[in-house]
Symmetry: C2
Subunit: 145 residues, 2 copies
DNA sequence: ATGTTAATGCAATTATGTTGCAAATATAGC
DNA sequence: GCTATATTTGCAACATAATTGCATTAACAT
């Protein structure tokens, strides 16, 4: 099996992006986490390895290319997660449910849970559905017990 | 029928809030619009009638009392709409679908559309559901034709 | 190896949200 | 109506988040 860094490099090239240190680092961090990652957290982890501005631009480029997708938590903070393979710049397939834990504030992508179809009033044309559930995640529920 | 301002004054008193000019003005503006209203828009419309800080505090107080509810649009900007009558400080009944128009960027509260029940993985406890649809609203669809 | 383009880092700017405090104002009690 | 009191406002300062322009650096095609 090819290693992770190689996969990331291919991913960048495929999307016409040069394989630079900050970009690889962002992919490393995001892939190593089980939930969506906030911009502030990324900024903190990367420290002085990359400028704050660079981070913004990396995230923006990744989002445009469909490499990552953005989820806003209940506070309006941007959180990022690597898209499933089906995504591209032209078409995002990230219509799964996101779960925002009130306790640990993690955001989980519940890929397994599909967003149900929706009836909207006449005239409205739905392009995307964005369903965010809030509550207590499995990990936090366990800790209480 | 009692007039609008009287209704608003009663609403404030009922919630233990004094009837001040900025608060009434916010209620006026929100009630006069068919979609949720962004903080920046409110700030612009109110101009020098009220300080920016006051606006933040008015919105915060209203939200705590259940007079308005906040919806974040796809950019993470806060938008506010007056709650339906069932809401109070203790219990928000705003789990209807919000529709974010990609064209005019209005946010509609589709009170008629209920958020469907959801199956989540074991261990997760859902408290609230927040469903935002994006697309083209009825008004913008009409204009194209 | 080198030229070209893309990407980064820095500085400056703008936007957005918060806190503390003094002055102003709503209203309850007289 | 007047006064006391607690709330609310407005200002100033601060804190945080995000954007822009530009010079330098680095990737990679040739």
């Amino acid at each position: 099996m090819e290693n992770k860094t190689e996969r990331f490099e291919k991913l960048l090239v495929k999307n016409g992006l040069k394989r630079t240190a900050p970009r690889l680092q962002v992919l490393e961090i995001l892939s190593g986490r089980d939930s969506a990652t906030s911009q502030p957290y990324l900024e903190q982890v990367m420290g002085k390895d990359a400028d704050r501005v660079t981070l913004y631009r990396v995230l923006q480029a990744f989002e445009e290319k469909g490499i990552i997708h953005k989820v806003l938590d209940q506070q309006g903070t941007a959180n990022y997660a690597i898209c499933s393979d089906g995504c591209s710049a032209h078409e995002h397939h990230d219509e799964h449910v996101h779960f925002n834990c009130d306790n640990c504030h993690k955001i989980y992508c519940l890929d397994a849970v599909k967003v149900p179809a929706l009836k909207v009033p006449a005239g409205f044309k739905v392009e995307h559905l964005n369903l965010i559930a809030t509550g207590i995640c499995a990990s936090c529920s366990d800790k209480v017990n």
